[in-house]
Amino acid sequence: MSLKWRIAIIFGLIAASFWALFPRTAVERVKRNGEFVYDTVRRVPLKLGLDLQGGMHLALTVDESKGAVPDKEKAIDNALKVVRNRIDEFGVAEPLVQKAGNDRIIVELPGIDDPIRAQDVVQKSAFLEFQITDETQALEKALPRIDAALKDAKVTVATATPAATADTNKAGLQSLFTADTSKKADSTKKDSTAATGTVGGPGAFSKLLQQGQMPGEYYVAQTDVGTVTQYLALPQVAAVLPPGKVVRWSSDTVSLGNRVYRRLYVLDAKPIITGEYLTDAKPNTSPTEGNIVEFTMNNEGARRFRAETGRHVKDFMAIVLDQRVMGQPPVIQNAIGARGQITMGGKDLQAAQDLALVLRAGSLPVPLKVEDLTQIGASLGKDSIHAGITAGIIAVVLVVVIMLGYYRFSGALAVAALALYILYTLAALAGFGAVLTLPGLAGFVLSIGIAVDANVLIFERIREELAHGKTVRTAIDEGFRHAMSAIVDSNVSTALTAAVLYQYGTGPVRGFAVTLLAGIAASMITAIFVVRTFYMIWLNRSREAQTSLSI
């Protein structure tokens, strides 16, 4: 290849690199005064990972703790659409929602500053059901059997353990003695639970329940909620619960006198209608009921709803969201049509907004649980970038000193090549849309040290050839030729390892592998091709230079 072509290729690569790295305008969703707006921004097109720019990563999977899901893969596919809709409505700049493996959804939300709320929006099943409260006193009839079952099972599970519900899960962590009056502190201790008026007798279970104001409604002291939940979760108890009925907690608590109670409802298991017919949901504030969410159903839903409610006039209808009864079930005065509302029971307007959002975006076909969560603050990400860049600069300086000190003029050529190496690698990362992560940044800094290896191999060869008395031109030719097999073999085997890392790594490690691969390619190009060209230019420029080489 002629020298002209070589120079042209090098400059072509430089131009391409600058083009790849040149700040460009892009339309992005950016947050301004707390609101997401579309805006054109100008920035270097190098994508930063969540660990560098801050944000949140979630891995969601099907929650089978409340019953097995038959076709998980299909369920995940459907859930994926719902999650994507919700994230789009939630408003995040450049979110990522994708399926990983067969049964997992990965959600990445850059720049999120309220992780708890974001997680809520993603995870809430928003499964809306309308169920009629039990009129047959089925639970009361079953109470003796439940008590007997508990007695048989010799239940000693009085202390709270992380049970089925999220609230008791928190309670399980709460120390028993520091339980404060806040709602989440529903920790339990059997010794302290005095019977507060019984429903069906002195049994372990029945003594914790009090008859409510409507059929199928019971009051349970807040301190006993954990215990009751636990009892209900026991397989022996589940076996004797009335068939065709389900037991659900209310979403909020009520105060009677100086005691706090949570309501327990026994409902017909088959819902009269579910939220799948919902077309719209809007938050609102009603003077009498506080924050509410108003919803509208489509024609088919409205028809069914009218028919079903017509059949159940004078019955009580529980609005059940994610297995929690919202508010107190209203009595059905007459058939209801397309519109309805959900009372939020003292929660703030944001909660109503979020509920409306998830209802609009559709309910999750299966409950999801967060299997894996990473959230990194934006300032921590910035610190990491600063530290990484500092380390990079120091590494470059040290490597330059070593190369110049040892190889002098040839070392200078290697340093020039190193500058191109850094440019090419960054450009390759930007060009392929790779994501730069913190381990990737570390890998890049490390590669600065390793990248000169090819140069070192070549220079040592040239020295050997010169020592054998070869002319400068021949020594350079021979040096490159002999070093080639070592360079190729060592780089290819490293590249293969990097490919394996890419295939089996996740997140940050994958970013590391990409950086490694880009670095290997760039270092081979610069060490073999670019430095060779530099030598050729130097040999062409001056005749007398050929008699000695500073190396």
Binding site: L173, Y406, G449, T497
Partner: protein, 329 residues
């Protein structure tokens, strides 16, 4: 011309027994210590919750602990992480992992809540929170092991094609040696095994393999020259000839590693430690594992052509000429 270790003629391999004893002792020390106490896996592997916190005032660790204990989070590991205002809290004992399985972020939220209560809403800032379910950890562990084994397999195939199976086997055995020494190093340094450290380990393997390949490349070339010398001598000669390159490359790599170790921050430091050790073990294994193993393989399974000569490679008495063809097959 500045020259380091030029035209040396050290008999490196002579010391392989001593070196083998040293490295076996080191590995046994590490593995023995592993048997006594399992390694520190990061929450990525065990599952659990990690919070990185920045306080406005240097807090008292005892206070953090008592706040956590009050919330029922016992046995959490609280560690200073950088300055005296930065701390990490790790809740990763199996009980908490199981509790978390039903909703991974709950514990993180509880921790944030109690600490904000104790140190004030602005007194503590959460820089990073990670919550990992137990299953993810299992998969990562399997993924890491598959990645290492697969990279060995691919290396074996590639080197068998480019060199021959004896070289490939020796290189892979030398690299496996590095896996063990690095694990021993991690254990003895009390470094936590995280994903980043695994990436570091794989980088070390790649680096060590590079080093071995550079020497073997020289061996391949010297064998082709058909000098009248034994493989033992050829190996020694090749190590000596590549010595200046080794010194230079290790120097520049170490310079970059040092920069990472000192300036890249706490998250990267374990990775940098692994790499720093990797430079040592990689160099060591190329000379004292790869070379002796190659000699051993050569004696045990001599090359077909010229088998008689090769069988005596380890004894310097027989000086036989090796044809170039045998070396490249």
């Amino acid at each position: 011309m500045l020259r380091i270790l030029h035209d040396t003629n050290y008999d490196f391999i002579r010391w392989w027994k001593v070196m083998a004893a040293i490295t076996v002792a080191f590995i046994l020390l590490g593995l023995g210590s592993l048997a006594v106490k399992p390694p520190n896996y990061s929450i990525e592997f065990t599952g659990g919750t990690l919070m990185q916190l920045t306080f406005t005032q240097p807090p008292d660790v005892g206070e953090i602990r008592s706040a956590l204990d009050d919330a029922g989070i016992h046995g959490a590991e609280i560690q200073q992480f950088g300055t005296n205002r930065d701390f990490t809290v790790r809740a990763q004992d199996p009980k908490q992992v199981a509790a978390q399985a039903s909703g991974a972020s709950n514990i993180a939220n509880v921790i944030e809540g109690v600490l904000k209560k104790k140190f004030g809403e602005d007194g503590v800032k959460v820089g990073r929170r990670e919550a990992v379910g137990p299953r993810v950890g299992q998969e990562l562990k399997r993924g890491a092991i598959i990645a290492i084994l697969l990279s060995f397999l691919i290396t074996l195939v590639y080197l068998s094609i480019r060199f021959e199976w004896r070289f490939a086997a020796a290189a892979v055995i030398a690299t496996s040696h590095d896996v063990f020494t690095t694990i021993a190093f991690l254990k003895l340094m009390h470094l936590e095994i995280s994903l980043t450290v695994v990436a570091g380990l794989l980088t070390v393997l790649g680096y060590s393999l590079n080093d071995t390949i550079i020497i073997f490349d020289r061996v391949r070339e010297n064998l082709r020259k058909g000098r009248k010398e034994t493989l033992y001598e050829t190996l020694n000669r090749s190590i000596n000839e590549t010595l200046p390159r080794s010194v230079l490359t290790h120097a520049t790599t170490f310079a970059a590693t040092l920069a990472l170790l000192l300036f890249a921050g706490e998250v990267i430091r374990p990775f940098a430690w692994v790499m720093a050790f990797g430079i040592v073990t990689g160099t060591f294994s190329s000379m004292y594992v790869a070379a002796p193993v190659l000699l051993w393989i050569e004696r045990k399974w001599p090359r077909k052509t010229g088998a008689r000569q090769s069988s005596s490679t380890a004894t310097p008495t027989s000086r036989t000429r090796r044809s170039p063809a045998t070396a490249t097959r």
